[in-house]
Symmetry: C2
Subunit: 321 residues, 2 copies
């Protein structure tokens, strides 16, 4: 069994080095040097066991996901990630668990050159809280209130995969390789940082789909004072989700209301289409037009047949999910 | 019962306004404008129920303490507080509980003009994670590795009160008004921000006593490569702690090893004595010289009789406490 300070030493040994970290883990607080003239972008998200990930999630996947969901928030602002802090509550100070957790956390931190600069380890039910810090030039952040009537709605990737993986897990676990591919999307979401960095100047409002496409689009509509028309059958379906053989309405509901995809949903003027496709190609992620912004309020979804459509269950609220 | 977004609205309604918050609660991330030329100081601490506060702690006191323990870390760096983020995990989305929590959180936030700029609310065992942000001029931060041989060791306030309150609570609760005064020191610690701001240029190493005086002094000694000689009977005793009528060794142990006091311990050259006393007077807190820094390593404590002294139990580790 390790003590708190042993765990901190294990964590410190694996931190990404950055010149702008004046003083990292080990003092009362971290000392950081923000770049001149930039705005600081800060997001904070907690993952609790059994709420934000299944109890049987591998420690390395928990580590990855804890950072990924936070980097996704920076991506949705168009920010460049720089630093993070980590608060880790564990029932027991289990060094092997922490090492495995760090395997996943560090793998993603290194991809984005994010330095872990502080936080704490403490006793409690398994819970991981991360705060991430990034930068954006003044006026360039992708805000929810920046949509205009006439914009088109875009989404990255293939929403619904994580929700189907969760449904499969609830029903007893993944049954074949295609379902294990879905589980990877639940456990190791890819924060769309590379895409987010290319969207300022092209996209208007941008949000990450952590609560589900409908719920997150509703946030944009409320902030911007507009209405979103969503073509639900235009939302792309992954091969793995298609292989699950779901009824169309069940599949649509997972895609519209399932949380945890961490794809980006953004709005942009029609004239930006080609530039957005080019940016997505550079960022190595697919993007798809799935609707448009009109006058009014709220979100309406329509099927390919032109029928109004509503999900089996609405939204995602971490107090009801 | 309230949902996640209702709770966020309740929290947002009470936030301190600051001109350097470009975009606060409500988007994927906060947008902040750090002051030019300053270093950013960041600390993060989690409080879990039953570990960091007794289960019967009032919600307002939990709110106060969650911010206080973090501001204490900024104080120990000599930093000016500015912003914070809050992640609140609750078993149920209880609006009355959140309102009471915010009463305590806001009371302290307003004292220090700290703006809450983001975070999340989620379901889980009661847990509060706060990240605080402050500023310090380059080269002015109070680091643990800055002590020199010949320095004197100082402490603010009257350590031991919080530990006695916790001992009383464990034994069945406070029995008289003096003990209730101790409980207030456990539940509503005063972060020594005003003192910390006056120490750069006077003090060398500075640390907050969250883990206990001996354990925290040991951190300073390890970081600075020196030895601390502690006059245990010079550590000031509050009237309330004296009224508890403890055996001297029990009282010394609480003062040397009890955590949760959030006083500052700092080292300074002899020539700074008068300036330190004047700074403490301005900051409205008592300061006392309790030892000296010598060559060597580790911490040794001596009683007023010149006897070597060791506590009944050593240090405070959040995995053993």
């Amino acid at each position: 069994m390790a003590g708190e300070f042993d765990l901190i030493d294990r964590i410190r040994a694996r931190v990404v080095a950055r010149d702008d970290v004046v003083l990292g883990i080990g003092d009362d607080a971290a000392l950081l040097q923000p770049p001149a003239g930039m705005q600081l972008v800060v997001a904070m998200d907690t993952l609790n066991t059994g709420i934000h990930f299944p109890h049987d999630t591998a420690p390395a996947d928990i580590g990855w996901k804890a950072l990924a969901v936070n980097l996704s928030d920076l991506a949705a602002m168009g920010a460049t990630p720089a630093w993070c802090t980590l608060s880790l509550s564990l029932p027991e100070p289990d060094a092997a668990w922490v090492d495995a957790f760090l395997d996943g956390f560090d793998a993603l931190a290194r991809q984005h050159a994010v330095a872990l600069v502080g936080g704490d380890t403490t006793r409690g039910p398994l819970s991981v809280c991360v705060t991430v810090f990034g930068f954006v030039s003044p006026g360039r952040a992708l805000r929810r209130d920046a949509t205009s009537v006439g914009d088109e709605i875009w989404v990255s990737g293939t929403p619904g995969d994580a929700a189907e993986a969760l449904a499969q897990w609830s029903a007893g676990g993944a049954r074949d390789p295609a379902l294990r591919a879905l589980r990877a999307r639940l456990d190791r979401p890819t924060p769309r940082v590379a895409l987010g960095l290319r969207l300022p100047g092209l996209a208007h409002a941008t949000i990450d789909i952590s609560d589900g496409l409908l719920a997150d689009l509703a946030h944009v509509c409320r902030a911007s004072g507009v209405r979103a028309e969503l073509d639900i059958d235009a939302v792309p379906v992954s091969d793995a989700l298609r292989a699950a053989g779901l009824e169309p309405d069940t599949r649509r509901t997972l895609q519209a209301s399932g949380g945890d995809d961490y794809e980006l949903c953004f709005t942009a003027p029609v004239g930006a289409r080609d530039a957005i496709v080019a940016a997505a190609l550079e960022a190595d992620v697919s993007v798809t037009r799935i609707g448009r912004i009109v006058k009014g309020q709220g979100v309406v979804a329509t099927t390919a047949d032109g029928e109004l459509w509503a999900p089996v269950r609405a939204g995602w609220d971490h107090f009801s999910g």
